[in-house]
C-alpha cells in the first residue's frame, strides 16, 4: 500500500460528544418597524402607489416588515431631490465639511454596529459571525476611508481638476446589502455627488436603517435618497435622464441591460457582475491553510459572493490529501440559525436562489456528476443548502462554466502551472482568483497569467477599502475601492 493511499484511510469523528448549546444574538435588540417608507429629500415618504411589499427572514420565512413599492413618479421625486441637493448644497460645500459628514456616518455606524449586524443577518440569512466580523466592520472602514479623501481629491489626481458628476444612481445586490451600499455611497459623497440608491427587494432593511442614520447625522436633505421596489425601478434608474452616473452590482444578465441603457443615455457607469473564480492549490502549498482558504472562498456567505472561489483547481500530487481534509473540515461547519454566534453556514437568501442552486445540483446528478454534501441536519423552515462538493468535473460541465452563487464547489485537478492558468482563464468571467503555494516566485508568475481583477495569494476573500476591486471580461467595468474608486464619480479635465 502506498503512502498516499494510507493518508485517506482514517477518519475522524466530529458528530459525537460535546455539541455546543445555542448561543443566539437577541433579535429583540433591533426594533423593526411594521412598515418602511421611501427616504426622499431627508424624509421618509409614502410611495405614490400606496403599495408595499414584504421582506422575510430567509432562515424561518417569517415576515420582517413591509417596504414601500416605488414607481416612476417616486423615482422622479428622488432624482429631483438629489439634483436640488447637489446644486444647492452638496457641490457648493467646502470639501472638508463634506468629509465631516461622512466621518459622522462612520462613527454613528461604529456605535450602532451590533444593531446593524443583527438586522443584516435577519434580512439576508448570513451568519452573525460574518455580519458582525466582516460586513459591518468593512462598511465602517469604507466610510472612514473615503471621508479622508473628500478634501484631498486634488492630491489624488494632481495637475487636473477633479469635479463631481452630479446625481449618481446606485443599484445594490442582496448578498452584501449594507456593504455594497457603503462601497457606493461613500465614494459618491466624498467626491461631491448626491445619490439615489435602490436596495435589492429581498434585503432592503439595513439600507433603510442607514437612511435613518444619515438623517440623524444631519446630512443636508436630498443628498442620499433611498427608493425601494422591484427590478423595474432599477431599470428606470438606469434610463433616467436626470441621473449622470450608474453604479451597479449584480448579475451579468442585468448588467448588460444597464450597460445598454447607460450607453443610450450617455451616463458614466461601473458594473460589478458575476464571477467563477479559480482557487489554485499547488502541491507545495500549506495544505491545512489552503483547506481553510477554500472553505472561506466558497462557503463564506453561503457562496453568495461574486468573487467566490467556486472552482477548486488542485495539483494532482496533493489532490487526494487536500480533498480528504476538505471533507473533514466541512463536517465541522455548523449550519443553522444565522443569529447563533457559532453558526458557520446560514440560510440561502431566497426561495428563488435556492431553487436555482438545487437546479444545478439536480442537473448534475442527472448527468452523472459525483456530488458530496455534509451530513448536517437542515432546519425545517427556511431556505437551506448544505456545503457541497462536485468532484470529477470538467470544463465542459455547466456547473463549471456558470455562476451557481451558492455553497457549491467544483473540483478539477491539473498537472502543471501552465495548465492551471489555462483552466483558470477558460471562463467568460474574470473577477478574482486564488493561488496557494509556498513559493513566492510561483505566485507572481501564475498571478500574472490569470486574467482577473483580484488575485489572492495564500488567502481568499480579503477586502480592504484601500484596495481596488473589479473585474475583467463579463465580470464588469470599472473599479470600486481605493483611489481607483474615486474616478468613476469624477469628471477629470486638464
Amino acid at each position: 500500500m502506498s503512502e498516499k493511499e494510507l493518508t485517506t484511510r482514517q477518519n475522524l469523528r466530529f458528530d459525537e460528544l460535546w455539541a455546543y448549546d445555542p448561543a443566539p444574538e437577541s433579535p429583540d435588540y433591533v426594533k423593526i418597524e411594521e412598515q418602511y417608507n421611501l427616504f426622499i429629500d431627508g424624509k421618509f415618504q409614502e410611495p405614490a402607489s400606496g403599495r408595499y411589499f414584504e421582506t422575510i427572514n430567509p432562515a424561518n420565512e417569517k415576515l420582517l416588515s413591509r417596504v414601500a413599492r416605488a414607481d416612476k413618479s417616486d423615482l422622479d421625486k428622488a432624482v429631483a431631490a438629489a439634483r436640488k441637493a447637489y446644486e444647492g448644497v452638496w457641490s457648493k460645500m467646502p470639501a472638508k465639511e463634506r468629509g465631516k459628514y461622512i466621518y459622522r456616518i462612520a462613527r454613528l455606524l461604529q456605535e450602532r454596529a451590533r444593531e446593524f449586524a443583527i438586522l443584516e443577518s435577519m434580512d439576508t440569512g448570513k451568519p452573525i459571525r460574518e455580519s458582525r466580523d466582516v460586513d459591518i466592520p468593512i462598511v465602517i472602514a469604507h466610510f472612514f476611508y473615503y471621508a479622508g479623501w473628500a478634501d484631498k481629491l486634488k492630491y489624488a489626481f494632481p495637475g487636473v481638476d477633479p469635479r463631481p458628476l452630479g446625481v449618481a444612481g446606485q443599484i445594490i445586490p442582496w448578498n452584501f446589502p449594507l456593504l455594497m451600499a457603503a462601497w457606493k455611497i461613500a465614494p459618491a459623497l466624498a467626491t461631491g455627488n448626491t445619490v439615489v440608491i435602490k436596495p435589492a427587494s429581498s434585503t432592503p432593511l439595513t439600507l433603510l436603517r442607514l437612511g435613518e442614520l444619515i438623517r440623524d447625522a444631519g446630512l443636508p436633505d436630498g443628498v442620499v435618497n433611498i427608493v425601494t421596489g422591484p427590478g423595474e425601478i432599477g431599470n428606470a434608474i438606469a434610463n433616467h435622464p436626470g441621473i449622470d452616473k450608474i453604479a451597479f452590482t449584480g448579475s451579468t444578465e442585468i448588467g448588460r441591460t444597464i450597460q445598454e441603457a447607460s450607453l443610450r443615455t450617455g451616463k458614466k457607469y461601473t458594473l460589478e457582475l458575476g464571477g467563477k473564480a479559480a482557487n489554485i492549490v499547488f502541491d507545495d502549498a500549506p495544505v491545512e491553510e489552503a483547506v481553510e482558504g477554500i472553505v472561506n472562498g466558497i462557503f463564506f456567505n453561503q457562496g453568495h459572493v461574486c468573487c467566490a472561489g467556486s472552482r477548486l483547481l488542485v495539483q494532482e500530487g496533493v489532490a487526494d490529501e487536500l480533498v480528504h481534509k476538505l471533507k473533514m473540515r466541512m463536517e465541522t461547519l455548523i449550519l443553522g440559525d444565522p443569529l447563533d454566534k457559532n453558526t458557520d453556514i446560514g440560510a440561502i437568501n431566497s426561495k428563488g436562489q435556492l431553487d436555482s442552486i438545487l437546479g444545478y445540483l439536480t442537473d448534475g446528478v442527472e448527468s452523472g456528476l459525483q456530488i458530496y454534501q455534509t451530513k448536517c441536519q437542515l432546519p425545517e423552515k427556511g431556505f437551506w443548502c448544505p456545503p457541497t462538493l462536485v468532484e470529477n468535473v470538467s470544463q465542459a460541465h455547466r456547473i463549471v462554466q456558470e455562476e451557481v452563487f451558492g455553497p457549491v464547489l467544483t473540483i478539477q485537478t491539473f498537472r502543471t502551472p501552465e495548465e492551471a492558468v489555462s483552466l483558470a482563464n477558460n471562463t467568460p468571467y474574470g473577477l478574482s482568483g486564488g493561488i496557494w503555494t509556498d513559493k513566492g516566485s510561483k505566485i507572481f508568475k501564475v498571478g500574472k497569467g490569470i486574467r482577473a481583477g483580484v488575485i489572492w495569494a495564500n488567502t481568499f476573500n480579503k477586502f480592504d477599502p484601500t484596495s481596488p476591486f473589479g473585474g475583467y471580461k463579463e465580470s464588469g467595468m470599472g473599479r470600486e475601492g481605493g483611489i481607483h474608486g474615486l474616478l468613476p464619480y469624477l469628471e477629470i479635465s486638464q
Binding site: M1, E3, L6, A19, Y20, A23, E288, E289, K341
Partner: protein, 305 residues
C-alpha cells in the same frame, strides 16, 4: 502500541509548509466559539480532568508537594461531583512522595526529566534521570528536546534522543517538550512535532513554562495538525499538551473547541489531551461552581497552590 508496520519515517530535511497568517487566523476563529449552558459545564469539568497540576520550582519542599497532591485528588471537597485532575507534575526528587500520596487515587504522577528545562546535561545523565524518576514511581515523563541540536539542523540527533528516552521510560508514558518559544517559526514547530512523534512520543508538549512565549493557540494548532497527519497515516493516536500561559477557563474552552474541531471527539479525553498549568485549575473550579449555582464565589473559597 504503535502501528509501525505502515510507518515510513519522513525526511526531516524537508519542510511541511505552514502559512503563518493562515494558521493564526484559523486559531483566532476558535476564540469566537461561544460555549454556553450545559455544553459549558461539560467542558469545564472535562478541562479540569485534563489538568496536569504543576509545580516546578527550586523551592518545592515536600510540604508544598503534599498540598498539591491533595488538591489534585480533591480540588473542591465541598462538592463531590467535582472530578480529580489528570496528574501532578513535579521534579524527580519529589516523585516518590507524590506517588505515595496519590497511590490508588487514579491521579498520575508526571515528572520532568532530561535536564529540564534546558536539556543541556550529558546524554548519560539525562537517561539516568529518566530511569530514576520512573523507578521512584513516575508513570509519565516530560522530557525536553535539545533545541540547540534542532536549530543546528541535527534532526537525527533529536530523533535519537527522543527514541533513547522513550526506551528508558519503560512502561511510563513519554511527553516530549518542544519548547516552541525557542523554535520561533511554525514550520520549526511542525518539524519538531514530527520528529518527536516518529521517534516514539506518546504526547507532544509545547513548553517548559520557563520560556516566554509558552503555549499559544496557533502553536498548539500546528502541533494538532502534526498529530492528525500521523493518525491519518498510521492510525495511532498521539496526545497533546499545551503548557504555560493558559490561566483562565475561557481560554481552556477555546483550546477544547480547537481540539474537537481539528482532531474530533476521540481526543476529548485526559488520555490524549492535557493542560500543563497551575492557576488554571482554580479558575475552572470557580466557573464550575458559578455554572452550577449561578453565583460567583470569592477566590477565598478555593484552595491556593
Amino acid at each position: 502500541m504503535q502501528n509501525t508496520k505502515n510507518m515510513r519515517i519522513p525526511d526531516f530535511k524537508l519542510t511541511v509548509p505552514v502559512d503563518q497568517i493562515g494558521v493564526e487566523e484559523r486559531a483566532a476563529r476558535f476564540r469566537t466559539r461561544s460555549i454556553k449552558k450545559e455544553s459549558k459545564l461539560f467542558a469545564l469539568k472535562l478541562a479540569l480532568q485534563m489538568v496536569d497540576l504543576t509545580t516546578l520550582e527550586g523551592m518545592d519542599s515536600p510540604g508544598k508537594v503534599r498540598q498539591l497532591c491533595n488538591k489534585a485528588m480533591y480540588p473542591y471537597e465541598a462538592d463531590p461531583d467535582i472530578p480529580k485532575v489528570a496528574a501532578i507534575c513535579v521534579y524527580p526528587n519529589r516523585v516518590r512522595l507524590a506517588a505515595e500520596i496519590l497511590k490508588g487515587s487514579g491521579v498520575h504522577v508526571a515528572s520532568v526529566a532530561t535536564s529540564f528545562p534546558s536539556g543541556m546535561g550529558t546524554l548519560e545523565s539525562r537517561i539516568e534521570e529518566v530511569k530514576y524518576a520512573v523507578d521512584e514511581g513516575a508513570d509519565e515523563i516530560d522530557m525536553v528536546i535539545s533545541r540547540w541540536a534542532f536549530l543546528k539542523g541535527e534532526y537525527n540527533y533529536v530523533f535519537d534522543e527522543v527514541a533513547t528516552f522513550k526506551e528508558a521510560c519503560g512502561p511510563a508514558h513519554l511527553k516530549v517538550i518542544l519548547e516552541t518559544g525557542e523554535l520561533e517559526t511554525y514550520e520549526n514547530v511542525r518539524k519538531a512535532s514530527d520528529i518527536a512523534i516518529y521517534a516514539g512520543a506518546d504526547f507532544i508538549k509545547t513548553s517548559t513554562g520557563k520560556i516566554s512565549p509558552a503555549a499559544t493557540m496557533p502553536v498548539t494548532l500546528v502541533m494538532l495538525y502534526a498529530i492528525r497527519d500521523y493518525y491519518l497515516k498510521t492510525g495511532s493516536k498521539i496526545g497533546m499538551k499545551p503548557a504555560g500561559g493558559i490561566r483562565d477557563a475561557k481560554t481552556a474552552l477555546h483550546y477544547l473547541a480547537m481540539v474537537k474541531e481539528t482532531l474530533g471527539a476521540d481526543w476529548l479525553t485526559p488520555d490524549l489531551f492535557r493542560f500543563g498549568a497551575s492557576s488554571l485549575a482554580n479558575d475552572l473550579l470557580m466557573q464550575i461552581i458559578k455554572q452550577k449555582t449561578g453565583q460567583y464565589q470569592s477566590p477565598d473559597y478555593f484552595s491556593i497552590g
